[in-house]
């Protein structure tokens, strides 16, 4: 049983106009096996929260903590955070030319586990995971994310999630750009990971569509760099009905943020 505690997190991003504070006191606790949907309007800082947790070099922590079983992730390098058990499924997975998926996955698995996976079981595990996600075998020999369609990239993210077995996953708009079939396949993958490893999930999304497949235990509204409301699954339906209007500050100034 693990716990991820985000405590009073303030963070900024480097923009052309200089540093801009986006996160303004975010607080959240996620436990193993819990699925938290994080919903909110454009520009509310949801992706900033995801990147700040994962340690993207463009984002700066101003204050606060993110404790994974008591250890502050924010004091670690990005690879140390991954080794501690955090996984970020990116909205826009990055292409790495010339590095094959096979080589990449094996290297990552070796780093995360601290030892190389046994070849035979690893190969089978990889093949099974790819079959489950309906990924063509050819993917394994292609360069990381290079020439993948939007849907293929999202499947590849979930493939990594299943293979690397983190304690907590931040899914940053994993549903965007997916058709109905791909959405189901990807959701099944996330549910499998949860079932197999007791994964705790922070599911960032604009839409309730994915919540039909990945059932949240808790739904949060994130606006203006903070969690502003927390409820059960019914909150998602309410948001679907009424939109985010009531959470936007006067004049919608915040929605203009990156």
């Amino acid at each position: 049983m693990s716990t991820l505690e985000i405590k009073d997190l303030y963070a900024s991003v480097e923009t052309k106009e200089g540093r801009k504070q986006i996160l303004k006191g975010a607080n959240l606790t996620v436990r193993s096996g819990e699925t938290h949907a994080i919903m909110g309007p454009n520009g509310s800082g949801k992706s900033t929260l995801a990147y700040t947790l994962a340690g993207h070099p463009k984002y700066f922590v101003d204050s606060g903590e993110a404790l994974l079983d008591g250890e502050d992730l924010l004091k670690m390098t990005a690879d140390e955070r991954a080794k501690a058990g955090l996984f970020l499924a990116m909205q826009y997975p990055v292409e790495v030319p010339g590095v094959s998926m096979t080589n990449f996955l094996r290297t990552a698995k070796t780093e995360i586990d601290g030892k190389a996976p046994a070849i035979r079981t690893w190969t089978k595990e990889l093949q099974d995971a790819m079959t489950n996600l309906r990924m063509d075998k050819k993917f394994a020999s292609r360069s990381v994310n290079e020439g993948f369609s939007g849907g293929e990239k999202k499947r590849a993210e979930v493939l990594q999630l299943e293979l690397l077995k983190p304690k907590f996953a931040v899914m940053d708009e994993t549903d965007s750009g997916l058709d109905v079939d791909a959405l189901r396949i990807v959701s099944d993958g996330v549910n499998r990971a949860k079932e197999n490893t007791g994964l705790g999930i922070m599911l960032i999304t604009h839409y309730t569509r994915i919540l039909k497949y990945i059932k949240p235990d808790i739904v949060h509204v994130f606006a203006g760099g903070q969690f502003v409301k927390t409820g059960g699954p019914e909150l998602a339906d309410e948001l679907e009905e009424n939109g985010y209007d009531e959470y936007l500050p006067e004049g919608s100034k915040e929605s203009a943020l990156a």
Binding site: P57, D79, L88, V94, E95, A108, I112
Partner: protein, 407 residues
């Protein structure tokens, strides 16, 4: 080889685009001669020398007496003796064919090389070879030396040749490559000189009719290495693939200049050079010239150079030049870039648990991967990758720290 009669069509001034241009190219007008005095002593004011630290190689600007200390030996790549019925090696008078038949020297240093010494090492290859031939060039000290190497491949031959340069040397090298019609040949030149070495090379290459030549260059060491490679075709429907890999370290100047000439119809050329630069004042230069002559319709040419700067401090010059004198071509593309590590790529790999240094290795490995694969000689590819990885590992401590701080 007899000079081909060229009738350059004259354009109709009312409709200038129906016929190929009648404009002589600048490359056509530059001198070709065995005579040193046909070329001015290089200065950085001359176009061909603007990127070269000429003061560091001025010993190659006047004819000298070669030390003769450079040793050349020919074997199979695994060290076994060559098959004498297919591969022969001889040392002949430099003025005796096939030496001196593939074009003429094209700059001061190549004319100096020609006139410094009177012998040529001639390697002739014929038939189908089942393993690569290794031409091993060992430098033995910094006394000035000159080497003239002729690689003559007969019609229909299929072979791989590796020319390896090692040791300590100050060498002026002339290489003539002549491939026969219908041949399929790969020749890879590896420069892995010891610290303190200088190497000025001039390749003159003729690709036979309906032949394929892969000309590979791998430059990993030497204080100053300058290679100029001029090529033309001996007939139509030929395919030239020039590829280069270089890794310049602090203080080194590694320069590669390719000159591809399309002088027959229906030929294809690809030039792809990639380099990594690491450390203070590491300097690389790539100049890719391509000339498509009026008599070469249906030409398909492309050239590309990419540079990956690993640390602050290096300088990479990259310059493609195209002269296209025929409008009826398939393509004449070029691309050139100088970039540093992509933060997004590194972050993506790191976010999967891969350490920064390992991520850098993966990215550099990926950067060179397609080229190394194309070289097609596994022992060279493996060796190359291990040399590059050793270098990256070495850079991890102090210099990587500097990069991190730079961010």
């Amino acid at each position: 080889m007899a000079e081909q009669e060229i009738n350059i069509p004259v354009a109709d001034p009312k409709d200038p685009y129906t016929l190929p241009a009648a404009m002589p190219s600048s490359a056509d007008n530059s001198p070709r001669s065995f005579d040193v005095d046909a070329f001015a002593v290089p200065t950085r004011k001359q176009e061909d020398w603007r990127y070269t630290p000429v003061e560091r190689i001025s010993e190659f600007f006047e004819v000298f007496t070669p030390s003769g200390k450079t040793a050349v030996s020919v074997s199979n790549i695994d060290g076994s003796t060559i098959d004498g019925s297919r591969v022969s090696q001889s040392v002949v008078d430099r003025r005796e064919a096939p030496s001196g038949t593939v074009m003429k020297p094209n700059d001061r240093v190549s004319a100096v090389e020609w006139n410094s010494g009177d012998k040529a090492v001639v390697v002739c290859v014929s038939g189908d070879l089942d393993q690569p031939v290794l031409v091993d060039v060992q430098g033995h000290g910094t006394d000035l030396d000159a080497l003239h190497l002729v690689l003559d491949v007969t019609d229909g031959t299929h072979c791989d040749i590796v020319v390896r340069h090692e040791g300590l040397a100050r060498l002026a090298e002339g290489v003539e490559i002549n491939t026969g019609k219908d041949s399929h040949v790969s020749i890879t030149f590896v420069q892995e000189w010891d610290e303190g070495s200088k190497h000025v090379a001039n390749h003159r290459i003729r690709v036979g009719a309906n032949a394929f030549l892969r000309h590979g260059v791998v430059t990993l060491g030497g204080d100053v290495v300058r290679m100029r490679m001029d090529q033309d075709f001996g007939g139509p429907q030929s395919d030239l693939n020039m590829l280069g890999i270089y890794f310049a370290e602090a203080g080194q100047h590694l320069e590669h200049r390719t000159m591809v000439v399309h002088n027959y119809p229906d030929c294809k050329s690809r030039v792809v050079y990639k380099g990594a630069l690491d450390g203070e004042d590491a300097h690389s230069t790539w100049v890719g010239n391509a000339l498509i002559k009026p008599q070469a319709p249906n030409t398909d040419s492309y050239e590309l150079n990419r540079n990956l700067v690993l640390t602050p401090g290096p300088v990479a010059d990259s310059e493609p030049n195209l002269e296209i004198e025929n409008g009826n071509i398939v393509g004449a593309g070029h691309a050139s870039s100088v970039g540093r590590f992509d933060d997004e790529e590194l972050f993506y790999l790191q976010s999967r648990g891969i350490t920064e240094s390992e991520a850098r290795k993966l990215v550099v490995r990926g950067f060179f991967a397609d080229l190394i694969e194309q070289i097609g000689v596994p022992s060279i590819a493996e060796h190359l990758m291990s040399v590059i990885e050793r270098r990256l590992a070495r850079g991890e401590s102090a210099e990587m720290q500097a990069v991190l701080e730079d961010k």
